[in-house]
């Protein structure tokens, strides 16, 4: 039992952290997820993959946490456009922050599907099983998540204007 928890602890925490964006909330959701996993282990169908089943529990916990968070007042957000994109540690950290910020602004279903696909490397079939939705819906959610994230990053000035730079150089 302890080994099972240790085996999936970081993975569950990673998803919860991405979904919730706060360490404390992510830890609470992780703890609830793993405890639920242990209690519901008898109901797990061995014919199904274990990982999507576990991540589905984590996703449900995160959605519950997000719903309860709606009642809490949001902290005031300070918007600072990214100035430049020099390839150093600081800029990478800033870019990661921008991506995290954009993730926080898309719908929960989109975010969860996107993270399950691109971060947890689950297939669309596994995501559909985890989120209890058709495969086509899972695919649509991932596509819309990408579009929303790309749009937000573009609005925030994250994209390098390489074309303009090239044009300026050529002219």
């Amino acid at each position: 039992m302890q080994q099972l928890v240790e085996r999936f602890r970081n993975q569950v925490f990673g998803l919860c952290f991405r979904m919730l964006g706060q360490r404390q909330d992510a830890e609470d959701a992780t703890q609830e997820t793993l405890l639920r996993m242990l209690r519901s282990l008898g109901r797990w169908d061995p014919a199904r993959d274990f990982e999507p089943w576990l991540l589905a529990i984590a996703g449900n916990r995160c959605r519950t946490a997000l719903a309860s968070r709606m009642n809490r007042p949001k902290p005031q957000e300070i918007i600072e456009p990214v100035a430049d994109h020099r390839d150093n540690d600081h800029q990478r950290a800033l870019l990661a922050e921008e991506v995290a910020r954009a993730l926080d602004r898309i719908r929960d279903e989109y975010r969860q599907a996107f993270l399950l696909f691109h971060e947890q490397q689950l297939s669309y079939q596994e995501i559909a099983a985890a989120l209890d939705c058709p495969v086509g819906t899972a695919k649509t959610w991932v596509h819309r998540a990408r579009q929303g994230l790309i749009a937000q990053l573009s609005q925030r000035g994250v994209v390098e204007e390489r074309r303009n730079e090239v044009r300026r150089v050529s002219s």
């Binding site: 992510a26 830890e27 703890q31 405890l35 870019l95 990661a96 691109h118 990408r146 990053l153 074309r163």
Partner: protein, 249 residues
């Protein structure tokens, strides 16, 4: 390539976990379309930024807390749940034991049904007919005593059906026959000697004794070898008389 085809191909490549910026077709279109070029760069930044995410790991303190909760929480809940379940089952069993006799006991104020005649028992039709009118014809001693007790109680006491013990000890159809015969005699006597104001009943009403006598007669006719006679004939139902206009409404 058009812009919507660019979008579709972009998602196809991402679905296959391939890098769209390395695709020649996409690059070719992006070089001639500012919007799609912007999209291509934005997605590149997106996944580059995603890869820069520090792998979130829970703190050591959380790991310890989690380990403790995993070990203690399910057991503590189980240790509470099991005694509660045992207590609830015990209470349910006690309630069932306390109330079961009340529901299962035969009510004392309900008339006991007459014993059922056994069709398998051989019956002499002549003896049946004779003994139905003469109670002393019974051969069995216990049967005699049972019959004597039933008849000897007099008119003012309610007739009792044979006891279960008597039924078990004797031929059940014989006791059944005697009980019905005794009841028939009693009801005939009641109809003759009754001092109840039968004559005062309104037109269209008949004494209850007549109805009971009819019912006894119907039971008597169920005995093998008993021929119906006029005294056993049941009165026609009053509802039919009203329906046919023979009685005033």
């Amino acid at each position: 390539m058009k812009c919507d085809e660019f979008q579709a191909r972009l998602h196809d490549l991402l679905d296959q976990r391939l890098a769209p910026e390395d695709d020649d077709a996409l690059r070719s279109h992006a070089n001639n379309c500012d919007h799609c070029d912007h999209v291509l760069q934005a997605q590149e930044r997106l996944f580059y930024g995603l890869a820069q995410f520090p792998a979130p790991t829970p703190s050591g303190e959380f790991a310890e807390r989690l380990a403790a909760s995993v070990v203690t929480t399910p057991r503590s809940r189980r240790s509470l749940a099991r005694p509660l379940m045992i207590l609830a089952l015990g209470l349910a069993a006690a309630v069932a034991i306390a109330f079961l006799p009340r529901f299962s006991a035969t009510p004392t104020n309900v008339a006991k049904l007459p014993p059922t005649a056994s069709p398998d028992a051989p019956v002499n039709a002549a003896n049946e007919l004779a003994s139905s009118t003469n109670h002393s014809a019974a051969n069995d001693a216990s049967l005699e005593s049972e019959t004597a007790r039933a008849i000897g109680n007099g008119q003012n006491e309610a007739s009792q059906p044979p006891s279960d013990a008597a039924l078990a000890a004797s031929a059940s159809n014989e006791v059944y026959r005697l009980w019905i015969s005794e009841m028939a005699t009693r009801m005939q006597t009641l109809s003759v000697d009754s001092t109840s104001p039968v004559e005062e009943l309104a037109s269209g009403f008949r004494p209850v004794a007549n109805s009971i006598s009819g019912a006894i007669g119907a039971l008597r006719r169920t005995l093998p070898g008993i021929r119906p006679h006029e005294s056993d004939a049941a009165e026609p139902p009053q509802a039919g008389l009203w329906r046919d206009g023979l009685l005033p409404v």
